[in-house]
Every structure is written in structure tokens, then in C-alpha cells.
Symmetry: C2
Amino acid sequence: MVETTPTRSERARQAVLDATADLVAEVGVERTTIDEIANRSGVAKTTIYRHFASKEVLVVEAVHACTYIPVVTDTGSLRDDLISCFSGTTKASYDGRLGDMMLSLMDAAQRDPELGRLVRAQTDQRRRFATNVIERAVARGDLPADVDVDLLVTLLAGPLVYTKLVRRQRVTDELVAAVVDTVLARYAVPTTTD
Amino acid sequence: MVETTPTRSERARQAVLDATADLVAEVGVERTTIDEIANRSGVAKTTIYRHFASKEVLVVEAVHACTYIPVVTDTGSLRDDLISCFSGTTKASYDGRLGDMMLSLMDAAQRDPELGRLVRAQTDQRRRFATNVIERAVARGDLPADVDVDLLVTLLAGPLVYTKLVRRQRVTDELVAAVVDTVLARYAVPTTTD
DNA sequence: ACAGAACGCTACGAGACCGTATCGTCGATA
DNA sequence: TATCGACGATACGGTCTCGTAGCGTTCTGT
């Protein structure tokens, strides 16, 4: 990890991205204005336009900036890896600022193609993590070869996303474990607890 | 069902509510404007303000107008009643116009208290339907008495909502059945199919 | 120390919306 | 058919937001 001293330009850019993310989390994409971003960041509106062509690309970059890739374990235990996977992706997608931005982003993504691609890419990536875990289990023989992987991922991810976005409750580690255990019960996968 | 001929005032009001719902479904709550509602509905902007105090009130009433209560069966079969319940609530909430409005509504509900109450009331009502079905099953002895009803509802509703809102795919009857069967598998409830 | 690049500040025109006022027109009802 | 309530059309002031221009100021690297 090479840390370079940020240039003046880089500092301004980062302040703008930060303020944008904050603002989107607070008031949503539609109500986020360049003027308010300028106020919050302390960066002049003129300078903002020197960095970003429009509000749309700014929002896209701001979202991109606060997205990170969770680390998923590979222990050989389907249950443990699934819990690691969904705990990680939940934290990455629904904790902190990004979590507060999510509903507004998904709404805006319905109309803005660029934002749509970003959200879809993120969803696909999250699903791929889970898919990989499941396919490893199939390869080990822990799951039947004809299991509907796509359905399985939906059964696991759905309750967590629903809890966060619709019920607006925190996704606890206990909930993740409960969801994983219940869904795996159908496939007679032994659980460590219980 | 008593059908009265609508008065001129009622026709105008209905046209406005209709146009509002259409517009919210298309461009979202934030981008819905009174001027455009006037254009679409053919009702003068002046008249719109004679009926509705503000855009917020109008949106709330428009949403309310296209919300209906699904009928849930009570056959004595947990599986069949759950499928009926989730199939019905899914159709009521996520098919047609209301489905297209949902993301934007949920986003706007984060900031608008009135809209927040409306969305929450709807969510609670949907969950109550499922809760009733489950509690009847517990009373019959089809489910253990200490079952976590709240978790169970989340496990059932989550994948369906996630499929619609996040993946933006249709919620088929097959998916509903698959979700119900998988979740019930943990409680060793016999399924009719399989 | 000295350019040149990058930033801050102020101001501006253009356009979109809001909510209201005014006045002419239509339509249900007696 | 006369009347009054409800609607339609137009226009308006006010506000917000966008994106840009002009110009002075502050960094940064040499």
C-alpha cells in the first residue's frame, strides 16, 4: 500500500466525492444539488465542474468511491463460507453511508443508464460471491449436483436485503446465520450450531 | 357494490390521481410535477390545487388509490395458504403500476413522514396476512409452538421482494412455491408436490 | 523567487416548478 | 332556461438549480 501525499487537486476531488456521498445518503440522488455539495465540501462550484462533467457522473463516481469488495473465506464448510459471504456483502452494501444511499440509488438506477449499470454490476458481483461458495460445495459433494444455484442465492440474499431496505432494520450476524441454516436445512446440510 | 354516476368534480379528481400514479411510476416521486400531471390528466393546474393542498398529499392519495387488499385463502393447508398469501400480496404490491412506483415510494418515504407511514402500514399489513396464516398453523399443531414467526415471514417475503425490487424480475407462481417449500422444509412440513 | 496551474469568489442567464390570481366558460339542477 | 358552483386558460412573482464567465488568490514545482 503506497501512500502518496495527495495533491491539492486530489484533496479537492476527494472532498467533493465525500460530500456527495453524504448528501445522497441524506436527501437522495434527486435532491442532491451541486451548490450544496460546494457548501459542504468547501470546494467552489466552479472547481467541482472542473473535475466532473455533470451531476450524474459525480454521483456515479461518489458511489463507486465508497464501494469496496468484501473478503470471503474458503474454509471448506459451506455454512461458514456462506455466513462469511453474506455477512461481508451485507456490511459492504448496507452498512454506513452506502446503506443509506441504496434505496435512492436503486430508484435512480431505473432511469439513469450509467447508474443502472453500476447498481446491476454490484448486485451481480455480490451474487457471484455466493455462487462461487455454492459451486465449491457442489464440487465437494456437499450439495446435490442439480441444485438450483440461482434460486438458492435468492433465498439467502432476499431476506437480508428485505430486512435492510424494506423493514429498515439492522442485519445482525444472528439473522445471517438463521437464514443460512434455514435454507440449508432443505438440503440436509449439517449445521455446526443447533 | 353501488355504482353512482361520477360528478364532474369526481371525474376530475380521479383523472388527476390516475395521471399522478402513472407519472410516479414512470419518473419517480421527485420528478413528478404538477404541471405534467395537469398535461396528462387534462385537468387544469388550478383545479388540481382545488382538490389537493400540495404535491405530497396528492402523491399519498394517488398511492392509496391504487392499493388494494388481496384475498387470502384459509384451506387448513399451511403450504397452500402461504402460497395464496404471498402470491396475492405480491400481485397487489408489485404488479402493475404500484410495482413500478415502489422503489421511488420507499425512497421518498425515508424523508416524507406521511409517505413513510403509508409505506410502513402497507408493509405491516402484508406481514400480518402471513403471520395470521402461520399462527393458524401453529394452533393446528402443524408448526412448533416456539417457531419464530417474525423470522419466518422474513424468510418467505424476502426472496420475493428481492426478486422484484433488486433483480427486477417477475415474481412467478413457481418462485413463490419454491420459496415456501424450501423454508417449510426446515420445519418438516409435508409439501403437496415433490 | 517565479511562473503556471489550480482554486475561490461573485455574478449571471436560462430554465423548471411552485402556488396563486384573474377571468371567461361550461354544466348540473331547479 | 336561468343560475351558481366548478372547471379551463393564461399569466405572474418567486424560488431553486444548473452550468459558465471573469478575475483575483493561493499553491506547487523548479
